[in-house]
């Protein structure tokens, strides 16, 4: 656990881990949108809506992660 000051077994540390995975998976979903729109990355309406939803959730997850890991 190094310098994170999160004791092993603390349920809050599990939350931080979950947030990291969840955020990484959202980034993966964004990555897939880039793949299916390569090379110009011109997003259609559906892709734009999905990207906006993912980015909004991602911001929320990163905010929570900040609280968990830097408290």
């Amino acid at each position: 656990m190094g310098g994170y000051n999160i004791p092993v077994g603390d349920p809050l540390s599990k939350r931080a881990v979950d947030l990291i995975f969840s955020a990484t998976f959202m980034l993966t979903d964004l990555r897939m949108i880039l793949r299916e729109t390569a090379p110009a990355h011109e997003l259609d309406e559906r892709q734009r809506t999905e990207a906006a939803r993912l980015l909004e959730n991602l911001e929320r997850q990163v905010g929570s992660l900040k609280q968990e890991m830097l408290k």
Binding site: F21, F25, D29, R31, R35, E36, A38, P39, A40
Partner: protein, 393 residues
Amino acid sequence: MKCGNGIEARQVNELFINIDPIQAGGRLTGDAIKAVIAYGDGYSVCDNCRKPNRLDCIAKPPIAEFHKDVAAWLNMDTARVMPGARRGFQAVAHTYVNKGDPVLLTSLSHYTEFLAVEGAQGVACEIPADNRHIVTPEATAVKIEEIRKKYGKDPVLALIDHVDYQFGNLHDVDGIAKVAHQYDIPVLCNGAYTVGTMPVDGKALGVDFVVGSGHKSMASPAPSGVLATTAERETEIFRTTAIEGDVTGRKFGIKEPELMGCTLMGATLVGMMASFPHVKERVKHFDRELQNNRIVLEALLSIEGTKILSEYPRKHTLTRVDTTGSFDRVAETHKKKGFYFSSALTDKGIFGLIPGATRIWKFNTYGMTEKQARYLAESFVAVARENGLTVAP
């Protein structure tokens, strides 16, 4: 951007349309990428390995269930995951081929099929493809009779490509298997380009083994693959160990020697499992893939002097073309010589053509969207026009 010391983060599939003939069907799904992130550590699938301590028996993650699902999906009786299709060829050849035994391959077989036969000290006997680059049951029968005369015995195994890597042509595996079985020759169907891209039914093909490639056609990390077989052959190929240490008396449970025990023990397997629901779904829509392929081929054929060397109309998306009469003519006088072609495509965001190739080359449209297929088609035409080639309206 680096992802390790001296390792550039690979962004090919994010920045380009990838037409590399061997890469198209192996690009990961989003779920596979997530699984690789979560299971990247070495023995990551072994956390809950309990007796009888074998990969295909692990319940969590659901590896045992995955094995059953793969066998059912291929309409075979049992399946194992392998480190690539080539290890499937190797396991089968090692089981059935002895020194000097003739083995049926084809004139379009992949080199790893030859190496599998070589490793078992067999003799490679190629069924010649006809002038359409198709391997037929008739040619198979002729070859078997030739082998009988030459070696005084029948081939002990036939390794037949469902779709070959050279032309992407679909071969009559069903008909070939019927001929081979008349001589009691077990048949392995090499589905490296079909298992995971289009429907494959092992029983309908009448084969003893179906081999698939995870990294070539099942949206999986390398090296991964499957080897599926019938109930009749199961106990031969997946026989369990009988060896015993003479000092310790140790035995090794139900490990399978042809698999060297457990095969894919981490991210490769879980990546494959994560892609599997998507793969099962995508094979049902192979017609869309052929439609996209047609869009690109019609554009290429509109460029004067271009020929399709694969069977046409296409039955698979891997396609071999001859542009000696079109793009290669430009190379003769272009300051970049043959490199102008791949360079122009790269500038348009297209990856996968061998740099310098302007005569005979292959590409694969599998997995692209219709929009990407249209863009690729337009790009070929644009490069032709930019270089003064004649394009039909």
